[in-house]
Structures are given as C-alpha cells and as structure tokens.
Subunit: 476 residues, 2 copies
C-alpha cells in the first residue's frame, strides 16, 4: 500500500521517559503483551463467527453501491442535507464532515457544489425551531436523512414527526417521499414500518452493528458521500488498518498495543483518558471516540456478572486552544490522566506569519514562520511539560488528513475498543443503562392506559416526578 499510514507512538508513556512510578516498565509491557496476545486470535475468531459484523463493513460493495446510487439520484436537487439522529447516528457524520470538508463548507456555497450539512442530535426547541424557520423556505432543495437503528429513538422520532408534518403541509405526500431518506434496521421498529407505508427511500443499519460502530455503514457513508467525501478511499483506509489490527504479533498490532496501554493506566489510577487533537479537522473524531469509549467500556458488571463499575472517562480536548484552558490542570492537578495527542505532520494549507511591527521587535521570532509548524511546536511544548510532570502521553501521527487516514483512524479505535473490552472482561457492545433512561421517557410523556403496562408507567412517572421536583427545600 503506497498511501500513508497513521501510526501510534507510545514511548512517552514508558518509564524511560517519566519514571517507574508513572510510566510503563519493560517488564510491565511484556506482561501486557502476554495478557493481550491471546485476545488477538480470540477477536479474530469472534469476527469469523460473525459476532462483530462491524469489522466487515469496509468490505461491503453492496453498501457503498447503494449509497452512491442514492447520492447520484439526489445530489442535483439537494442544497441542504439535514441529518436527524443522536449518538451513534450523529457523531460519525459530524466527525467526517469536520475532518474531510472545508471549514467554511456551510457558509460559503460558492466554493463547492455539495449541499450544506446540518446534523441535529438534540431536541432543544429553540435551536431546532430557529432552524425550521430558516429551512421552511428551502424545503424544495432540502433532504432529511432520519437515522435510528432501533427505529424508535424518542428524540429522533420526535424531530421526524415535526419534519414529516411540515413536509406534508407544505409539499404533500410527494414531498415526504422526495425529501426523506430513512436509515434504520429494515427488519423491525416503527421507522421501518413508516417508511414502507409511505414508500420512503431507505438505507440499512446492518444487523448486529451497534450505533457507535456504524459510521462505516450507510449511517455515515451517505451524508459523507452527499457532501463530496471520497468514501472509497475512506473504506480503503479502514481495510488497510484491518490488516494491521488483525496481526497476531502484539508489538505490530496498533489496536492491541493501544488497548493494553489504556488498560494498564486505568488500572493504575489514571481513570481519565484525554484525547487532544492538534488539528481542527480531527477534533470531532475525538468526540466520536468519546461515545465509543464511554458507552463500550463504562459497565457495572463484568462478563461473569460481578459488580465492577469500571470505565475510563474520555475527554476531548483541542490544541492549542485548551493550553489556555485545561493544561494548567493537566500539568499540576492530580496525575490521573492518560493523554493521547492527534498530530498532523503536513497540513493542507501553508500560512505564513507576517512581519513584526517595528514597535514590537520582541515578536521578530515569529515573523515569516509557518503557522502549522507553530501549532506542532505548541504540541511539543505541551508534551514536554507533561513529561516533565510525569504524565503519560501517546500520539497518533497522521502524515496528512484525508479520507484514507481518517478511515484508518476510525477502524483503529473501533478495534482498540474491542480489545479494551476484552481486557476489562466486559460486554463491549451493549448499553443496558441507556435503555433504563429510555424507558422512563414514555412514562413521563404520559403513555398510560388501564392495562398493567399503563399502570406501571403512571407509577414510574409519579416516582420520577417526586424525586426530581424542585421545591423550596435545598433551593438557594
């Protein structure tokens, strides 16, 4: 493969750099290799047995052909693509957009022929309402992509029920058909039934692929392709990484090494995992990672059913910005964090700092310098300071940011998550507690009835209302 590969660099997490109290010693690394190595073949076997279908997404010609066909059909009449989704249905779309489309994409439509992209992953009435005011006059050039794996996500369905009525009112049943794409599990759920009944265009969330592992399915590919991202290259990058993260030699497997190091530090009191991108384009990949890591690894019970309450807390940060916000804490606060930098060696744009004004000769050291070099020097300065304070650092190095390297990154972190889950001996792919919240909503929204379920709902709603009621006591 001649195209560039992203690399994981972990020397600055070792005892050689930060001492034996906080860094990984050679003996510890060896023990990690021994603990993790059997998991490589275990994961490879689980994949062969069809237990982790997300692993095969980059190979699906069917998905990319379906997506491309739909893009070809819709692109010319779409100036605004609006994604309605939440969690895994939104974060991948946002990350791909920030990484692979120009910064001014939405504001400056003279520079490209792709639609603007809006992703609504919330139900704030003010935010969504003000957007509706704007889009109502532009419905004929707008496509809504409604994404929900289960087909019954309350937030997304609520948005859809608003948009559906708007389209019916303004454009009639044909408007609904022409301006809505449904992405869901095609075998079950209300959204699937609605789509069939109204003859809406559909894309599939493949069976067995959870939301947070779905960005390389139609969930992420459709929006990306609509906005001009080279999805073939994205998938090729993921396949490139697949060959590396399937490698049975621990020391050559970046996902195994990455997971093992994260596992090691979590077990030694560094329960916070900061991903700090020194690239604006990569910043929302850190947000995508935040869900992947938190929802996959934050679990009350291990696989034997014992209560363990484990899970690193992921934090997204942005360099150089957060040097003036978080780095004071990172350097001097508790030594309870593992840092992962995202670094770009070659930025797409060169920008030269102008000359120093005569009145400020002390700025001459900046004059004529390259802004990207300065940004990378800021990363070095921060890393140096962290090492000085004995805080472990990893770096994921991108030679450049493009669809191919972003595809690698996504696949690397998905498989890293699988390894981490196996090391922690938990179920990586479920999210039992989210369901717990989800079930409370219908009760609070007044889903009732005289059957047993209706009565249970009413009881639950009363209980919640009394617990969360804000009254005079303890109000200051």
């Amino acid at each position: 493969m001649s195209e560039s590969q992203i690399k994981l660099y972990y020397k600055n997490a070792t005892a050689e750099l930060i001492g034996t109290e906080h860094g990984i010693t050679p003996a510890q690394l060896k023990a990690l290799a021994e603990e993790t190595s059997p998991l490589i073949s275990q994961l490879n076997n689980e994949r062969k047995d069809g237990k982790t279908p997300y692993r095969d997404l980059p190979y699906s010609k069917e998905i990319s052909q379906k997506v491309k066909g739909l893009v070809a059909e819709l692109k010319d009449r779409c100036e605004n693509l609006v994604v309605l989704g939440i969690g895994g249905s939104a974060l991948g779309n946002i990350a791909l957009q920030t990484a692979l489309n120009p910064y001014m994409h939405n504001l400056d439509d003279t520079q490209h022929s792709s639609p603007r992209l809006f992703v609504f992953d919330n139900i704030d009435p003010v935010q969504f309402g003000l957007f509706l005011d704007w889009v109502s006059d532009r419905l004929d050039k707008t496509i809504f992509n409604v994404i929900s794996k289960s087909g019954q996500t309350t937030e997304t369905l609520s948005q859809f029920m608003i948009i559906r009525q708007l389209l019916l009112d303004k454009l009639g049943p044909e408007g609904l058909q022409n301006h809505v794409i449904i992405t869901t599990d095609l075998t079950q759920g209300p959204l699937c039934k609605i789509a069939a009944d109204a003859a809406l265009r559909c894309l599939e969330v493949p069976q067995g692929v959870g939301g947070r592992f779905s960005v390389l399915s139609a969930v992420g590919l459709f929006g990306a392709a609509m906005c001009g991202v080279d999805i073939d290259s994205l998938l090729a990058g993921a396949r490139d990484m697949d060959s590396r993260v399937s490698c049975e030699d621990f020391y050559k497997n970046p996902a195994a090494v990455n997971a093992a190091i994260n596992y090691h530090f979590y077990n030694r009191g560094k329960k916070i995992s900061v991903m700090m991108s020194y690239s604006f384009r990569l910043k929302d990949l850190a947000d995508w990672y935040r869900q992947l890591w938190a929802e996959s690894l934050g679990k009350a019970k291990d696989l034997t059913g014992d209560e363990v309450h484990i899970g690193p807390t992921p934090i997204k940060a942005l360099g150089a910005t957060d040097q003036h916000s978080q780095v004071q804490l990172y350097l001097e606060g508790p030594n309870d964090k593992l840092f992962t930098f995202l670094q770009v060696n070659n930025f797409d744009k060169k920008l030269k700092i102008g000359p120093a004004p005569d009145s400020a000769p002390e700025l001459a050291f900046l004059a004529g310098k390259d802004l990207g070099t300065l940004l990378n020097n800021e990363k070095k300065a921060t890393e140096y300071a962290l090492l000085h304070c004995k805080r472990p650092c990893l770096t994921v190095v991108f030679d450049e940011v493009n669809a191919y390297t972003v595809g690698q990154f996504i696949y690397l972190y998905e498989v890293t998550t699988s390894f981490a889950g196996a090391l922690f001996k938990i179920d990586t792919y479920n999210q039992p507690a989210v369901k717990f919240v989800r079930e409370a909503i219908p009760a609070l929204e007044g889903k009732s009835g005289c059957d047993e379920m209706g009565r249970k709902c009413e009881e639950l709603a009363q209980q919640i209302q009394s617990l969360t009621k804000i009254d005079g006591d303890f109000l200051v």
Copy 2:
C-alpha cells in the same frame, strides 16, 4: 428586583436521596457551613481591599460607556466581527454568543442587522486559512478584535501578524486603523505598543483581572454589544447575583453552598465535575466554566507551598445528546463524578410534535406534545437514573435564558470559584504551569542569540526536540 433569578438546587446531592455512602448527610452539611462561613467575610474583605477586582466589573459605567460608544461608531460598517483570542479572551465571547444570539445568526443575515461573529481561538492553518480566503473579499465590512491581556499571547499575536499584513496589503495603513480593535492591558506588552504606534482603537483589560474572570469587562462586552446583546441587562444580572453571593448567611449564599458541595465531593473521591446543560443556548457556558474551574483550581501547591496536586476535572456535557454517548458511563461506571445540570423552565420557542403516522400507533404518546417539555422530561429521566445509581446531582434552574439570567450565572460561577479556591487553600488566580508551556514556544520557534538567554533557548529547544521526536522505537 422583579426579574427572575437563577437558583441552585442541591437536595439530590444529599444522603436523603442517595444514601449516606455517597450523599451529603445533615451533619456533613453543617460542618461544611461552619468551614465555609468564615470565608464569606474573608472574600468580602479581600474584595474591599482590591484583591479581586473582577468582583466590581458589573458596576463600571466607564467600561460599558466606552464599549457602547465604540459599538455606535462601528456597527454600521461591520458585517463580520472577528475575535482573535484564546482561553479567557475567547470562551466568554463564544458563550455569550451561543446563549444570547439566535442559533442561525451567522448563516441567516436576513433576520438581524448585527454582524456575524467569528471567534478564532486556535492557530490551525487549515481552519484559519480557509476563513482568510473567505474574509479577504469582505475586509471592508469586517472588524477584527484582537484580545490578549498580556499583549504577547503567541497564538493571538501570530494571528494578528497575519491579519495585519493582509489589511496593510489590501487596504493600507488606514485599513489597519479602521478595521482593528485592540483589547489588552494598556500599561504593558507588545500589543499595547503596536496599538499606540499605529493609532489603533483600544479597549482595556482591567488591571488585576485574569483572562478567565474577564468576560464582564470589555473582553466580552464589546463582541456581545456589537452582536446585539443587551449588556446593561447582563451586568444588572451580575449585580443581582453579587448581592446574593456576598450574603454572610451560608445557607442563603448560592456561591458558598455550591463551592462547599463541590469541595465536599472532591474530597470524597468524586474528582470529576460534569456540567450537563439541557439547553443548547447554555452549552458554551459549560465550556467557559470548564476553563474557569480547571485553571483556577488545578494547582500543584497550596498557599503554604506544600505539594498537593489537587483540582477537579471539569467536563462539559449536553442533554439530551449525551444521553446517547456518556450516560451509560455516568450510570454504571465508577461513582467518581458530581453532576450539575443546567435546566430551563421556559424555552423561548414552543414546538409541537406532529401526529403519529397511522402505521406507527406506538408513537401516539408523543403526538402533539411540546418539544421543550420532552427535553425537560429527558433531564428528569436521566437524573432519576443517576439517583437510582447513587450519583449526586445539582441543578441550576433558569426560569428563562436571557441576558439577565446569563449575567447571574457568570457571576455565580466566578464567585463559586473564589470560594472553592479558598476552601482548597490554593491561589485561585494564578496559572504557573501555563507559563511553563508558553516559555517553551519561543525556544522551539528559534528565538536565539549569543547572549545567555539565547543560549538557554537553544538548549531548551534541543531538549524538547529530543524528548518529543517520534522515531522508529515504540512506533506501531
């Protein structure tokens, strides 16, 4: 005062709700009151002695008149206001914009006569370069507000040196004078000299007010006023809160209670502080808080010089969005977090969910419901689940979001931070480690010379380069 006041609600952090292992017992609250009460008069005295000048910003007629005068002068010829700043020079501006201007402000200029606002708090060459391409054709209608308290922030000065050259090239020396506003300490620093030499318009960062406490000075007020925010009401809200947070009765002082509760939980292993806004408009106030809290409280040494390495790690989160990203971890992971919800009782916009399609009668419970009520029910459901899992929760309640309540919030958290610093017995107002990073940059950018300082720079640069060099070992 007839206008509404924000309130802090803390019952759901007490043992009554979540048990004695994780909640505050009445005895503990009493002890906290005893420990914190003397600090109220201590802080009030420090203020009288001029040690915390940020406390008096809301009373300065001079600042608001200067700001309003400048706005009146510039507003008609400004379609784009570009803030160049980082950390405390940016986060307040961003927070005020998100809270108090419409969501589509920048994209939809048919709805208002205020300028678009862009805040650049980074030096990413791709992001900034693409913006420059766009703004270069619009310089005659653009104002750049360059904000740096020290007048020598590397990132901001680098941006300014690029913009300065662009303006000189395109519009000449008059262009510089007409399109740049400098906000800085007027007594020192390169920016102040540059401004004097080139006769640029200036605003002041008041003496003794650190960046993260400066949003209610010209730093935040100018951008807000330019974009149409009612700064009188913002300041009036802050004054309203001032009367409450100066109150010597602990139980009636929301800043004292807030700080004491945060202090309590930090000392009992809940070292992560999550601020989760259930309002899009308030989300960037959580980001502003993230700097205020981290930089003020993350300290290696206490006031006696002992090494303590303390500091809660603040996290910003957004409801309902993060229910599908972080809440699984929050509920089932380690019980190491204190949650602070931001809740809005009355949203500015009502949005009704449409009818359920015939094919999906199971959605009928949502039909016709109000989206804001649903969002608040999502908060209740999440809080209920957290309480069930014995996780402590606070809520800051806004009757509505407007300049008056936002002013209260800012002042509440500034003073809460002062109380927390006093409880932790640290210097709340310095940031020694940030300076450590800052000094490494000139070295890496090749500031050198044959004097002692030049040699030191070269030595430091070599040391950093060798530590942070990414080579073959440990690269996978």
